[in-house]
Symmetry: C2
Subunit: 351 residues, 2 copies
Amino acid sequence: MSEVSELRKDPITGRWVIIATERNKRPKEYSTLRGESRPGICPFCPGNESMTPGEVYRFSPSGGGPLAEDWWVRVVPNKYPALVSEGEVTRRAEGMYDLIHGVGAHEVIIETAEHQAPLASLTKAHMREVLWAYRSRIEEHSRDPRVGYVLIFKNHGPAAGASLEHPHTQLIATPIIPIRVREELRGAENYHEYKDRCVFCDMIGQEERKPLRVVEESSHFVAMNPYASRFPFETWILPRFHASHFDTLARSESDDLADILRRTLGRIWNALDDPPFNFMLHVAPPRNPGLAYYHWHIEIIPTLTTVAGFEWGSGFFINPTPPEEACRYLRAASWEVPRPRAGEPARVAGA
Amino acid sequence: MSEVSELRKDPITGRWVIIATERNKRPKEYSTLRGESRPGICPFCPGNESMTPGEVYRFSPSGGGPLAEDWWVRVVPNKYPALVSEGEVTRRAEGMYDLIHGVGAHEVIIETAEHQAPLASLTKAHMREVLWAYRSRIEEHSRDPRVGYVLIFKNHGPAAGASLEHPHTQLIATPIIPIRVREELRGAENYHEYKDRCVFCDMIGQEERKPLRVVEESSHFVAMNPYASRFPFETWILPRFHASHFDTLARSESDDLADILRRTLGRIWNALDDPPFNFMLHVAPPRNPGLAYYHWHIEIIPTLTTVAGFEWGSGFFINPTPPEEACRYLRAASWEVPRPRAGEPARVAGA
């Protein structure tokens, strides 16, 4: 077994998987799934910065350096990376199979110093700095010629795959363009070839003309429940202007995005009582500036249903709440999420 | 809102979703996900046959009719169907979006009368009758010209999406060919065009020449951990002979399949301590007999990891146990699963 992860390709569908050969989890180690928790010291809380070596980004409102203790946002390497950045991308065959050595990157964006402050409770100014950290890290990794794609995603709550409670987002840079991204790119390109218009721009146009599924609107962005929502309360945020890449976002736009993101997450929080959720930032691959057919967006999916045999076997999803109904509930909910009280001690436990 | 489910198409990727408009679940109804359980009378236990009206199939070793109480296997309509069989398939547009009314079928195959007897604990003769029920129902639905695909799948354990504890499999017939099936068909067809060989036959050949990932072998079948396993301990069972459709299975082959299926499920059961799992029977769409490029198979996926933002956003899966290691553990495990003791009262609770 090699030291780094292997990317292996399914010879039937062309889907790639990451085989984390260095972890090599034994059967008994999977029992953590059955409700056991891992208490301990939170490595993302202030004072424990030395537990996360190799800080690659920091925002402090005072403009302080790496020793300043008033940081709002930090970015550090993931301690258990799915992919590592050392080495060259090597491709080879194993008989009929295809293999790539798992070069890439895996980082954690710590959204706030406050262990108890969920993303939706951050101030607009603070949320903007979280988004700016996303933008900066995407920009940085996009310069690496070995990188095929940069994915930003967030897991909130154990049921949505979060292994630490402290609010954080993750970044994974992969040496190839992932299959779901290729599917979106291909579909959007086909539509553009046929219509000479962006499919996402057309969706926004139709939703705004007859707003059955629009949750929030601002000068630059719209939040909506997509017509073919896979999951109940699935919500997308899209720029109303056409843009394929996130790293061209202007400072004024990030202000507006910060506002609509916290309002949207706040409505989901209140309508569903702090549900576990994932969000993913879908962008075009690097080094393809200004694609006419692709439109970046954020997909938020609360974890309310269980993905089971039917979904795995078919790719069909069964959604028991029509998006029009989800939209009604979200619009009726408050968007304000209470901040933790000042002086309230942060729990120092992993989840 | 209409009475039947709607199939809606995502305009970007072409992926279809089933919007269960008649259920229309409100936010509070999703709280069952957070560990609440629903006790009650098991509708699948003997004596409660009247709770499942409209039985469409039954196997009794005595050959008894619908009143015989010695049944081994029954097939009944799902009480909360994702798709219903009445009506015509109607297709229409909603602006730029595409919609099909959700005609199809949703059935439950009750695998045994014994509430406490997991599939892996059934005798070979009993397991064969479960497989024969799959075959018969696929054959039956394949005759319906409105049916585009018939998927057989099983959810075992609440974490894998089972809402009832009594051992059962499900069947969903859909009016279109699901996207994951189309991807497999397309990939397998491309490979066949290029090589003039079936990709599945080639995989079996490579695995048998160098058996690093072969869990079980019988005269007609092989069970193996695929090279690019998405999930830890993912295991496939394939016929060693080429066949695209399950409903051409001969009686002697079903005997052999029954044996390898219970041995494989038994090894998974013992190696992982009765894990939650899904399995899916992948077959070619009906009315395409004898496809040279497609090869039916069963995919078994234990639910050991949480699918989260990275997987949803990329379609990449991170598998922390290499299939070669999974295979070692499965081969070292016993395949025997104890039968519940005779006379032990069945718990009559849903999970």
